[in-house]
């Protein structure tokens, strides 16, 4: 039983880390209907930028501020140079553009900051502490809290502020939003900047876990099932999806793995998501679209 709880708690906490990456996708999708493939590249770029600046001897918080500035600039630049020219194009073209973007950003990151790998210490030791025999990682707890705060903030932002509502309007229909006077360009620039910020947070946490290296772009694979489970358009969905995926895959690996051969963590979350989708095709929290002829 104790082992079960330990696996589950570990899974839930890991799930929150997935949510953090999924959040970046949700933000962009919610505001512009773009499936942003470049999110993984942004995570890498943010983490690499931060570490490289800190290595120059810049103090932690200043380095963080500079990186945030760069990420915001980057978000604005992406809107200016790429997305603005693709307004009203089919979603699949926009998707492809973000793929081009991810090649570009990955190349840029390694051109500017080099291919060297770095360690990243946030000053939180990853030693476990003991709660009635169950080991819980301090670092995971910290990451989970941070993500929780971030998600709560973003959810409030989307639901309660004028800007948030404008974002949702844009996502629903670019042209209609434009015609009622919502400044599309600004909105997109803002949302890409926020996505850059989320990428930075994800990059820092994942970077301190895996080291800052190219493989950071791979964490996206863990975020995708979270995304479909929670729904592309729901911020709380990303968190709930993350929890389900995290706990589900760990429990499956430990308890189901021995029977079918182990190493099932890669596909299990997708199958899980698939089952959920068959019941609710828009994800758990996705917006339901009524189809009319």
């Amino acid at each position: 039983m104790q082992f079960f709880i330990e696996v589950m708690v570990g899974g839930l906490l890991a799930g929150v880390m997935y949510s953090l990456v999924a959040l970046g996708f949700v933000l962009i999708y919610k505001a512009s209907g773009v499936f942003n493939f470049a999110q993984g590249a942004l995570v890498l770029f943010a983490a690499l930028t931060f570490v490289s600046i800190e290595k120059m001897g810049v103090p932690f918080w200043i380095a963080l501020a500079i990186t945030l500035g760069i990420m915001v600039l980057m978000g604005v630049a992406i809107e200016r140079i790429v997305l603005r020219r693709l307004v009203n194009q089919p979603p699949i073209s926009l998707f492809m553009a973000t793929i081009g973007l991810s090649f570009f950003i990955e190349g840029l990151a390694q051109t500017v900051w080099g291919t060297e790998v770095h360690g990243l210490e946030l000053g939180i030791t990853d030693e476990p502490f003991d709660v009635m025999g169950v080991f819980i990682s301090k670092f995971d707890l910290f990451a989970a809290t941070l993500s929780g705060v971030l998600v709560a903030g973003l959810a409030l932002f989307f639901q309660k502020t004028k800007l948030g509502r404008a974002l949702r309007a844009v996502a629903d229909d670019h042209q209609a939003a434009l015609s009622v006077g919502i400044p599309l360009k600004h909105i997109w620039a803002i949302v890409w900047a926020v996505a850059g910020f989320v990428a930075l947070v994800a990059g820092m946490l994942w970077g301190s876990r895996l080291g800052v290296q190219f493989a950071l772009t791979l964490v996206v694979l863990k975020a995708l099932p979270v995304l479909i489970l929670g729904g592309f358009t729901s911020v709380p969905g990303a968190i709930v999806g993350g929890l389900i995926v995290g706990a589900g895959e760990k429990l499956a690996e430990v308890y189901l793995g021995p029977f079918i051969g182990g190493g099932i963590e890669n596909w299990f979350p997708y199958m899980l998501a698939l089952v959920f989708l068959l019941v609710r095709p828009e994800g758990l929290f996705g917006e339901r679209h009524i189809e009319r002829v």
């Binding site: 570990g10 080099g114 290296q213 190219f214 493989a215 890669n266």
Partner: protein, 442 residues
């Protein structure tokens, strides 16, 4: 505007097709293809490895004017560590130079496998130092493949011997429990039969635990390991799996000095991302790191002091991957030197270089003369033994640098040789190859 940009792109394509068609002319020169990878996930290791290799080639050119008066030339081709790009590079470079490509050193298992048939057909040897098909040690079936110094199977054997040493004798292995944490891929599973054979021989319990590729998440595996309470964990990792494993081990409180990793997990790139957690971690090695070797200092003096080095970041000199590259260079250049002894001082073709690879004799004295004493174990190849050594040593990361944790450990060939033979025979049968008679080769 639109047509303009179209025109420009058409022009660009035309220009590049032109370069495709135009061959280049070479004078009496020995051509070495460099299929490197300097972008993407493995760029960090790839840049250093191929940087070291190119530096050594340039050193030989600068100091001796090439090998036996024949200048060494090279051309790079970006493989991105992808099999199809590797095949493209192979085809691009195989016929370049006066006598074609000398040999290929892909530093990638996948590309090596994908080019194996082509290479035997084209009679160009493949050099796979430390990796590749373990059964290619049998040169009678694999005349063109050279898993030099140490194959995966030899390393697996060395790991068991090392653990035995740590325990105070091979007989102490009895009743112990060892977890084999492996990458969920063909590569990861490659050593399982060997480890099982050793488990039977020494009577320890082997538990195989798979980490799904790429290995960013290992929490459940390490919880499982903690539940199993093993005495040692053998880490058969690759890429990001290594630092993630070290971090996860720290998280469940598993002592890092009880982790014994494959050499792919034994470079700075593997431990630096794990930070403090990596202190005490142990990994295999076939080429010692550091700048203490005369050959490395020579490269610094002759090339980098004159701005002719291949790497822009000089801090990389002496790192594990860089030194592996230099070793790669030494093996390749020595093969050409040996082949020149038989075929004369001219540009040699792949088949002639193959003879050189098969008659390498890097004795400790020869290594000392090359400025690489004790950097690698002595290597002596023959038709029946394409590996030439099989020795592996282990290094421990102290938080800043790798420190030797053992001497060179010999493989247990009484267990390995039958496995190599069986596997090579199976391959020969599948492919319809009649093995050469090694006793007739000179």
């Amino acid at each position: 505007m639109k047509t303009n940009s179209l025109k420009r792109s058409v022009l660009a394509v035309a220009v590049s097709l032109g370069t495709l068609a135009a061959g280049q002319a070479w004078a009496a020169e020995q051509f070495i293809p460099i299929p490197s990878y300097r972008v993407g996930p493995y760029a960090s290791g790839g840049s250093k490895y191929y940087g070291g290799l190119i530096d050594y080639i340039n050193l030989v050119n600068a100091k001796e004017g090439g090998v036996g008066g024949v200048k060494l030339t090279y051309e790079e081709c970006e493989t991105e560590y992808k099999n199809d790009r590797g095949v493209e590079c192979y085809e691009r470079l195989k016929a370049k130079g006066e006598a074609g490509a000398s040999m290929f050193n892909f530093m990638s298992t996948g590309i090596t496998y994908a080019t194996m048939d082509r290479a035997s057909q084209d009679k160009i040897p493949l050099v796979t130092i430390g990796f590749g098909r373990a059964d290619a040690k049998d040169g009678s079936v694999f005349p063109y493949v050279f898993p030099l110094i140490t194959s995966y199977w030899s390393q697996a054997s060395a790991k068991i011997s090392y653990i035995g040493q740590r325990l105070g004798g091979m007989d102490k292995l009895k009743g112990k429990k060892i977890v084999n944490l492996y990458h969920g891929s063909a590569y990861g599973k490659e050593t399982m039969p060997v480890l099982e054979a050793f488990a039977k021989k020494y009577g320890f319990e082997l538990v195989n635990v798979e980490v799904p590729a790429p290995g960013t998440e290992q929490q459940s595996q390490w919880l499982e390991i903690r539940r199993q309470q093993p005495d040692f964990v053998i880490l058969r990792s690759w890429g990001v799996m290594t630092p993630a494993a070290i971090k996860a081990a720290a998280k469940v409180g598993f002592p890092r000095d009880k982790i014994v990793a494959v050499w792919w997990g034994g470079s700075e790139e593997d431990v630096i991302p794990a930070g403090e957690a990596a202190k005490g971690y142990i990994a295999g090695s076939f080429a010692s790191d550091g700048v203490g070797f005369p050959v490395i200092q020579d490269i610094q003096k002759t090339l980098y002091a004159n701005g002719k080095g291949n790497l822009s970041d000089q801090a990389a000199i002496g790192t594990v991957n860089y030194n592996r590259g230099v070793i790669g260079g030494i093996m390749m250049v020595e093969a050409i030197r040996v082949a020149q002894g038989k075929f004369g001082k001219k540009a040699l073709n792949g088949d002639e270089v193959r003879w050189g690879l098969e008659h390498l004799d890097l004795s400790p004295a020869r290594l000392k003369a090359l400025g690489a004493a004790n950097m690698i174990p002595g290597v002596k190849t023959s038709c029946a033994n394409h590996e030439g050594s099989g020795y592996t040593r282990f290094m421990q990361w102290d938080g800043k640098a790798w420190k030797p944790a053992s001497g060179w450990i010999a493989p247990d060939n009484s267990v390995l040789d039958p496995l190599v033979k069986a596997s090579a025979d199976k391959y020969a049968k599948e492919k319809g190859i009649t093995p050469r008679d090694c006793s007739k080769e000179k």
